[in-house]
Assembly symmetry: C2
Homo-oligomer: 359 residues x 2
């Protein structure tokens, strides 16, 4: 791959959802073309790109066409099958972020093991391969403890709290009887995140922290820049740098953090992609996270991450988006809609960034 990748080159995106769509819009501003690979005939991203290859992620014909069409390939979701990335790399494609980041992010035991190894603290955890592993693990971690599938599951799906030792082995079948992780409870006071970027030359750029509010396991609201002490900001930055460097990462990553009462930060999870808690950057930072990710994977210099103003980002879930006309009339509200054809309860249909004054 030519570095930096010149305008007129083609960026491939695996996945056709809203993150792919916003990545594609950012690539277009930089004069880059985009090709999307998605199984969906009419995805949000496919309506803003040069070409969509409709195919399954394991379809060899689709992968071959995709690899041939693109100068560099990235993805908008972390559950890209490892075989897909392997196949693309065998076809000579340049894929960023690389397979190590995906492998770590796809398996919660690997993720926490890696994080601890690079000095990024997490809750204590135990691998659970069968129901019978639970009692000893729960005893070590204490109750309540959170049982999650090792792989997949997001937005609160595929997890259950184990409150007491009676009947605790039943939890294993509740989450589907698959390999799991048992996590000690983090007694956190706040959920923060840091959107972090690393370029091909190892340059790192970090955004100010986001202060995130979830409802029912789904992100509802982000306030940014979060009001944090200098010590907390530095702690988050150190953690992000350790993770990016440890993975030899290229691209934007979302690092979700728990802030404990004593000020310590634990990493909840990492997402090797642009992240919902970074949407505020579209209207609040000099370079938004989508442009930053494209810059990184295309080998461009990273852009400045300074906040221009305080932003409250609000997800529009399901019928929230029906209020688009009212939201569009609010003077300090920037509306972003994803072009999804069907409104489904809880589905991310768009978001608004409310401009909240100077930083």
């Amino acid at each position: 791959m030519a570095t930096p990748l010149p305008p007129g080159s083609t960026v491939g995106i695996l996945g056709g959802g809203q993150l792919g769509r916003m990545l594609a819009l950012a690539a277009a501003r930089l004069g880059l073309d985009v090709v999307v690979l998605t199984p969906d005939e009419d995805s949000p991203a496919s309506r803003v790109v040069k070409q969509t290859i409709v195919g399954a992620y394991d379809d060899p014909v689709a992968l071959k066409a995709f690899a041939a069409a693109c100068d560099v390939i990235t993805y908008e979701f972390e559950n890209v099958p490892a075989d897909t990335v392997d196949a693309l790399m065998d076809l000579g494609a340049e894929v960023a972020p690389g397979p190590m980041a995906l492998a770590v992010a796809q398996d919660r035991v690997s993720e926490k093991t890696f994080l601890n190894a690079v000095g990024a603290p997490t809750v204590p955890f135990e691998a659970i391969d069968r129901a019978g592993d639970i009692p000893a693990a729960a005893k070590a971690l204490g109750h309540p403890a959170l049982l999650k599938t090792r792989r997949e599951g997001y937005d609160g799906k595929g997890q259950v709290w184990i409150e007491r030792s009676e009947g605790e082995t039943d939890a294993f079948s509740t989450i589907g009887g698959k390999p799991a992780i048992l996590e000690g409870r983090a007694d956190f006071v706040r959920e923060l995140s840091v959107i972090a970027a690393r370029g091909r030359d190892g340059e790192i750029a970090l955004y100010p922290l986001s202060d995130n509010h979830h409802e029912g396991g789904v992100l509802r609201r982000t306030l940014a820049p979060a009001e944090v002490s200098r010590a907390t900001a530095e702690q988050a930055e150190r953690i992000a740098i350790q993770i990016l460097t440890g993975l030899d990462y290229v691209g934007v990553m979302g690092v979700e953090l728990f802030e404990l009462a004593d000020g310590r930060l634990l990493v909840n999870e990492i997402a090797p992609r642009v992240h919902n808690t970074g949407h505020w950057t579209q209207d609040g930072a000099v370079t938004d996270q989508f442009e930053q990710h494209i810059r990184a994977v295309a080998g461009w210099p990273l852009g400045p991450t300074d906040a221009l103003r305080r932003v409250e980002m609000l997800n529009l879930l399901g019928e929230d988006a029906d209020a688009w006309a009212k939201l569009a009339s609010e003077p300090d509200t920037k509306i972003h809609l994803y072009g999804k054809r069907e409104t489904v309860a809880g589905r991310k249909m768009g978001h608004v960034n409310r401009l909240r004054g100077p930083v």
Copy 2:
């Protein structure tokens, strides 16, 4: 047409250049789909839209397909043939801005006649139908006077200065022997412009003025918001409102102004579309001119036009764009590239918005 046009609706754009491309990107943010009609197989806009209909602007088959695909149609250039708009309207399409704005903008005599009629001052002018009309007109207006074709010609093409009475009738053939206008010289000290928007309900929103610098008849640089007195700003606003109202206009318009030494403003010309001197709004205003135009034609409420910071917009002409990697590494520079396949001397390949601090 449903007003406001709901997300998921389709906006049609006549023309596939950079203005169409940036309009399409803005429409996508609002959850709207875009279909482009252009004669070019691989236009800048066609790489960021749901569908491109490749056809001539007078191709009845293409126009029929285009009208059927779109909920509302707009355009990115003012020389859309009147017959094209008529044909689209006969097919039941909603076109904005309307045919009156196009008719006025396409003919320099009609334009200045309209402007003066609504109280927007211009240089004095005379219609020139044949070479023999020049001497009397030049006598009335004085030398030097500027002979321009009545129709077409932009960026300084199709015009010639008449410096003295000797041989002045030759100028008519110099510009192609077509119906023309002779304009008195405006002894201006500055070129300003106002980007103005009017919604379907008659709501008007005006951006702060731009201070524009041309080289060889082509816009090189815009500083915005322009440093002007309150009286000058009010004069420009009054002129813009008179024009928008007089045309029952829907959309964004660029109004080019000459500022005279005594502070009076004359209208140089109007462009019934988004305008190069409004590109600063992408990184300097709450709502950029592209989103504003889409909002207007889709019947959405207009967005706020407040400047967030001072911006210096610099056009990247021809080989200027070869410096993209350096420009992309400048911290206060936002780069916008148009995806044009061929670099041609003087061709608008992109622009940068340099962030110049608080307003």
